[in-house]
Symmetry: C2
Subunit: 228 residues, 2 copies
Amino acid sequence: MIRAVFFDMDDTLYDTSGFAAIARRAAVKSMVHNGLKCSEDEGYRRLMEIVKEKGSNYDKHFNILVERINGNPDPLIVVNGIITYHNTKFAMLKLEPETFSILLYLKSQGYKVGLITNGKELKQWEKLVRLGMYPFFDDVVTSESVGIEKPNPEIFNIAMERLGVTSGTSLMVGNNFDADILGACNAGMQSMLINSRLTQEQKETLEEMGCLYNVREINNLLDLMKIL
Amino acid sequence: MIRAVFFDMDDTLYDTSGFAAIARRAAVKSMVHNGLKCSEDEGYRRLMEIVKEKGSNYDKHFNILVERINGNPDPLIVVNGIITYHNTKFAMLKLEPETFSILLYLKSQGYKVGLITNGKELKQWEKLVRLGMYPFFDDVVTSESVGIEKPNPEIFNIAMERLGVTSGTSLMVGNNFDADILGACNAGMQSMLINSRLTQEQKETLEEMGCLYNVREINNLLDLMKIL
């Protein structure tokens, strides 16, 4: 019997990638209007190369983009990108009704609810607070705060210990096969893959690890209610 | 005859300190509501000690405040402070009508207009863009971009050279006696002190330097029009 449900955050509880894509497109449009010498499509493509190169937590993507395309990091163009990115992102930040419903349902049914997320402590907390989600969580574990990242099973063990639950009664919900599903499997938890489908290869991996029967696929968070 | 007018930004064109004070008070209120264990007045006083200790460009004032008062840097409290600070600051950012009027007047009369500011390149540009002031400026010199700070006369020389003007036809307007007035005097420029009054000691200093006659006091930016 499941007593605790742990969630991944980005692209599980909140469409981080989708919102980031819109905010980056808006930023590129503003930079092109302010003198970035390329089309909006090329600007976006080049920006995504830089994001891939430097990682999403790097804070100078726009500086590099402007420098690469215009030959110098014109501050007027860079700050127009930064301002538009933030304005767009904050304007869109809103909890999806289905996320709200499932978190409320879990609390009303007496489940313990935890968050296990790879990312910077304050950046992840900022999302929880801006989205108004944090009161639903009994505990929040960020990789930065504990110094261990998913899929290392240790981060799952820490999260379960902090909530006072065991792996046999714990469920992990996430969108990333390696980080969320393999990690949870190695910690002995059940897991649910959301917004993604298991490939044949992934099924075989889980079978070899002896935990395929512990993993389920769901289309959206509300499907959790039908299964729990 | 004056042909170019150079401005300082913070507390000259824009009430940086006043807006920061309001945004910090709002941030402390939010942190106290979210569990900071002190009164709002004590929180603000302790925050200002930290700002003084670390400088205003440091980015972890709130972390330190929460750690000092609560014994640990509870991320929920820290991010509530950060979010409220930024929301309040951006909500208030608006060009004062008198600043707009004087910049428009100078442009309409054919003056060259420059900015000479101590601060971080992108942070200062962000203010110019968010306030909508940047189109008025023929050139912007930040200390970070040239590696020299006011009152070093070299930063004034660079600014004048970039606008193609000489010290004999240039006026510096700023609120800080040391940075703006002494610096401009040492670069051979005329200057105007705004939002502040010369003390007797400052007058004597200027007299010894032989440039007291080159310095005037104004109450607000609009007084510039009467004098030019």
